[in-house]
Symmetry: C2
Subunit: 340 residues, 2 copies
DNA sequence: GGGAGTTTGCGAAACGTTTCGGAAGATCAT
DNA sequence: ATGATCTTCCGAAACGTTTCGCAAACTCCC
């Protein structure tokens, strides 16, 4: 087995406390020669500090917990989570924090989630896009452990990082409006998730601001997934009066919508324009490339890590939790047919 | 602060050992009525076991460590790692293991990597695609901690899960050969990574088996990245005698090659055929869709977790570490020009 | 009623650290 | 020489568990 601080102490006939001080360079000083001998023996014995023991006494683990959204398997495949985790992982590395990923996502085990907050293995937790139905809310409140969330439902006292959805949606729709579109449909995401709700509301608000009547049948539900986007698009194209443009609440649904449009013999953007949201990597490689609203997802993740670190250290995080959206115009949007 | 086992014991005027037995249901039994009272008080006090303390005494953390490849930032964005992590995370959840991701990837800190193996926070480690230059090899050997690797360099005594690269490459090349291609180039990946080396060797072996002479200038280096694929493709197309087909060691390079082909006014597959490797999600959505060799990356990750769990529990893992490849024929390959 | 066996439960050690209190010795100014 | 201050370093407590050894109190059978 690995050697311990005690082995070093015995070898040198000194006390463990002295060894600890020498190894850590503090909080009390030890004479240089003693220190040198300790380090030499430590190297010789290939000593590795036991972080668990340290965590127990210091109460700090230098590890942050990450709780991914929802219950289903293969959550990890979503581009959104992918980018968010990328930001979290990279920033965590910079901040010298390891990441403990909470993988037990089945419904029953979800209950245990609170435990991770206080079971000593992590100093704080980042929730990624927790649902409305999620208990995360109350749990986070009940323990006093530091936590922040990304694109989650707003919870009193929990710092939530997200993109400026209102502005992003407005950009996308204004772009379509400026091209001449008036028949603009929306494919919404999972309505138990904050981003989906806000994007739907912003869509409604935009129509109102332009005095375009809201039509129930022009709003489809796509569950944030390719397949959902397909189905919603199919429904829209089957309407007696189909829209000339579709704004999708994320890129996966936009990709699904795109595929379905072709499957229904509609050309994009000639017959119908499509706009996505997220600027996930795929949108630049599909044909045609998709106009989308970029949100700096990885930056959100990184900012969340920085803020969490500050909470852990009891300094007030001051970074703004709202990140700007940016319209990326590509090839999936053009003027509507009748204007050409 | 959270309550401890001791609080429960005091409240009931019993010993902590009894409480521990009651809570864990073992290893000794306690009368049902006592047990019930303990559970009631635990609930009342919102008791959460401290996993760190438990880990210290049991030596088990129910957490597995994951060490991602290489040094650069944004490793996490690669589809390969994405799929591998997806498999690892999902299977870990099923096996009731959390995942500790080792994020400190800067070169100096990489040295510390050995520590994670024995610092008590994890029961075992999965290395994902470690390089040749990596110290992971010796480190893994030196500690006796359980570890496995995915697509890494083969190390004596370390179970390595990977796809059957030879067979996969042979399928891809045979497909091109059957279509009539004889001028087949290869864009290789990072040659400090096992998959890249084996795929290059398999490419050479295939040419030999068909008595096609090997031409140095038909092998480009693409570093497994889109940009590298672009550059390599550009070089190939500038040759006095360009190839009619290109086999890329991964899909990202294939996508780069595809983009560059169009940028150079070559039609795919009419002017040049392209085959990728990995079947990463993007290949089905680009235009044209890319013929590729599918490898069950997520399954590799899942198998690695299962095997690691068995190593931890001292049972011999028996699952085969070689996974089958499968050719997915899509739209980026066709007969070469001269045969049409 | 006496031994064997079972049930119940207490106390304490152990895991590997960090860090505090304080003791012993050295240094120095007066 | 005397106290004051500084240096060096030891012993021990603490973190929250698990689990072992042991003892007391029951149960049961002859």
């Amino acid at each position: 087995m690995g050697s311990t601080i005690k082995d070093i102490a015995e070898r040198l006939n000194i006390s463990v406390s002295t060894v600890s001080y020498a190894l850590n360079g503090g909080p009390r000083r030890v004479p240089d020669d003693v220190r040198a001998r300790v380090l030499a023996v430590a190297k010789e014995l290939d000593y590795r500090p036991n972080r668990v023991a340290r965590a127990m006494v210091t109460g700090r683990s230098d590890t942050i917990g990450v709780v991914p959204p929802e219950v289903s398997e293969d959550v990890f495949l979503s581009p959104y989570l992918h980018l968010a985790l990328n930001g979290v992982f990279n920033e965590a590395g910079r901040q010298h924090q390891d990441v403990l990923l909470f993988t037990r996502c089945s419904e029953t085990e979800r209950e245990e989630m609170a435990s991770i907050l206080v079971d000593g293995r992590v100093d704080g937790v980042i929730f990624i896009a927790p649902h409305f139905s999620e208990k995360a809310v109350e749990l986070a409140m009940s323990t006093h452990a530091p936590c922040v969330s990304i694109s989650g439902v707003p919870v009193e006292g929990v710092l939530t990082f997200c993109v400026d959805n209102e502005a992003g949606v407005a950009m996308a729709l204004q772009h379509l409006y400026d091209l001449g579109h008036r028949k603009i449909a929306h494919i919404a995401g999972r309505l138990d998730m904050q981003d989906a709700i806000v994007r739907l509301q912003s869509y409604q608000a935009f129509l109102r601001s332009k005095r375009i009547p809201y039509r129930e049948e022009w709003v489809g539900m796509g569950q944030f997934m390719i397949e959902g986007g397909r189905r919603a698009m199919n429904a829209l194209l089957s309407l007696p009066e189909p829209p000339t443009a579709v704004f999708c609440a994320n890129d996966e649904m936009a990709i699904g919508a795109l595929m379905e449009a072709y499957a229904c013999n509609r050309k994009v953007p000639d017959d119908i324009s499509i706009v996505g949201f997220d600027n996930s990597p795929g949108t630049a490689h599909v044909y045609p490339t998709i106009t989308t609203v970029a949100q700096p997802i990885s930056d959100l993740g990184a900012a969340a890590v920085r803020a969490l670190k500050q909470l852990i250290e009891n300094t007030e995080p001051e970074e703004s939790p709202i990140f700007p959206a940016q319209l990326i115009v590509r090839a999936s949007t053009s003027r509507p047919m009748e204007h050409k």
